[in-house]
Symmetry: C2
Subunit: 348 residues, 2 copies
């Protein structure tokens, strides 16, 4: 380990931070040193990574001295406080929060879609929202080949997107589905006034509401998709719903292409040959993606591809992926890998 | 109880049959006698209804002698076998299965929408699919006032729609969400080859697949909506998904009206004043419908009404209702009540 990069992980004890560490090792990311950063409370704890012991340090501005790449996944306020501290010390920040995603000076990147945008980076690169990433992976090849004019998506999002406390809340409530006083205190939004049970329920609120009646999660899906795909005029609308699933976001997507006579078979063929996508679409064998089976898998799974019965340019599909991997940790590391490939992160 | 109708309930021991009995009593439906019919296995059992003991009889053709109204909810094959036997003996059949719904001689009725169709009945009236009923209740007033040109719906359907065995399967699997061998044998379709877990999962299959890649449940939603609303040319597409919820179907609906300048407030006002609908739509107070809170409630709940960001005639909404009540038992009894109001079922 004498060669390679010094990598910092901010939020190393969180659900996504843990997955980032796992994936760095699994993908043999060329790191020489790891700096595991977290809140003061976690500082001093020891963590074993690939046979080496690392001590968690407090995330302070000085901690980024000598860091080449810093992965941030400790919430938007920590990113706002420390990301610029890190980049001013020479680190390239890959931020997994929503803090900078819509900042025009910050590229918002899914490598399969817009790796080229990395060349515009000024020290901070944003990792998109989990539900956005898996959708644009499937939409981009369609746009490239057939054009894309309209997207309507309804999501079925797992609780792990709301953190470990939300997973614990679902698990605890599930052990007694008939309990009529489940005492929820995390979902839908921890800091909001009202909380609702998630076991035996679905909640049509993720993040807080904007004045237009859409939630911020829905805004993220709509605005981030336009930015990543460089389609500011795309007609897109989202309805985001939390479901009692631990890991794996599902999406029911309607889209319209810009060409007549595209067949379902062509779409299947196209997506089968697209980076990061696995088509699971054999209805006659009851084969389609489901969140229960995507946990710990890297790919974006697509199935139930159908032609709209009324609009010859309309199609429906069902997209599922592990929201902690392609939706977060994996995509962040793929951004770092792309920075090396593109020569932006210099060889050391 | 010397006056009133002789009412038969076929499938009296099932989930919907039980709800029909409850609702007949609760709504003081004018019955003089109840005939509780079921399979040979259940015959002879005694059931108390409103202080009277009834003995369950085997559902045979002869059992319908003297019956005025017969509610069928024992599966399509029983309806195909016995509905015409019942109607030939003078009963009006209200069938809760899909056996006759698309039969051109059988009215398919949601009283709030097309009560007038009851006058075309020839002895059998069909109760629509649960997910269809709650949607058309919300769509009909919109169509009446603003026109309706397009509907795209993604559903979040409860397991009770698949019967008591499916509820038991969800409950058993939920007690140990981490169990990786849940041994499913009911969902998504009992008679199909493959079964998948429902706890911690969502399954994008309800009923079997057609050759166009849509499931029969999706066909039902599309075809029944056109028939009930008398809109054979309506552009409508459905994606039907089973979620780990016991009771209460939810629907994310996109629709386009046929008039410019319709506001969200107008839609809220219209739906608030429509029969059978309760608007729950105060995002600033985190108020929106959820399946957890609709169990045992008669109404169709509508919320999250939003204008599409790109299409000035497009709207999104979220519709939730108890699939065993308005989606099944309640609607069946409302059909019987409408038959009396309309003078089709003669006063006795």
């Amino acid at each position: 380990m004498s060669e390679g990069y010094t990598v910092a992980i901010v939020g190393a004890t969180g659900a996504v931070g843990q997955k980032i560490i796992e994936k760095l090792v699994e993908r043999s990311f060329p790191f020489r040193n790891l700096k595991l950063l977290a809140s003061k409370n976690s500082a001093g704890k020891q963590v074993e990574v690939n046979g080496f012991l690392y001590t968690i340090e407090e995330a302070t501005p000085e901690a980024f001295q000598g860091v080449d790449v810093a992965f941030f996944s400790a919430g938007g306020s920590i990113s706002k406080e420390l990301a610029k501290e890190a980049s001013s010390r020479g680190a390239i920040v890959i931020d997994n929060t929503s803090a900078f995603r819509m900042d025009k000076d910050v590229p918002l990147v899914v490598p399969e879609v817009n790796k080229h945008a990395l060349h515009e980076q000024k020290g901070i690169i944003a990792n998109p929202n989990c539900s956005t990433i898996q959708m644009v992976c499937a939409l981009e090849p369609i746009k490239q080949h057939y054009g894309l004019t309209k997207v309507i998506v309804s999501t079925y999002q797992a609780v792990s997107g709301a953190g470990v406390a939300a997973i614990n809340e679902l698990t605890a409530q599930s052990t007694n589905m008939k309990e009529k006083n489940p005492n929820p205190h995390i979902l839908p939004v921890k800091s909001s006034e009202k909380h609702y049970p998630i076991a035996g329920n679905v909640i049509p609120q993720i993040d807080i509401f904007g004045e237009d009646g859409f939630t911020f999660e829905e805004h993220k899906m709509m605005n981030e998709t336009k930015k990543i795909m460089s389609m500011p005029e795309l007609s897109i609308a989202a309805t985001c719903v939390r479901v009692p699933v631990v890991t794996g976001h599902s999406e029911s997507v309607y889209l319209e292409v810009d060409r007549e006579n595209v067949s379902v078979d062509e779409l299947k063929e196209l997506l089968s040959n697209s980076a990061g996508i696995t088509v699971q679409d054999k209805p006659e064998q009851q084969q389609y993606p489901m969140p229960y089976f995507v946990e710990d898998k890297d790919e974006v799974f697509v199935g139930r591809i159908r032609k709209d019965p009324s609009n010859s340019k309309g199609f429906h599909m069902w997209i599922v992926s592990d929201n902690l991997l392609k939706g977060a940790a994996l995509n962040s590391i793929q951004i770092a890998e792309a920075l090396i490939e593109e020569g932006i992160l210099k060889e050391v």
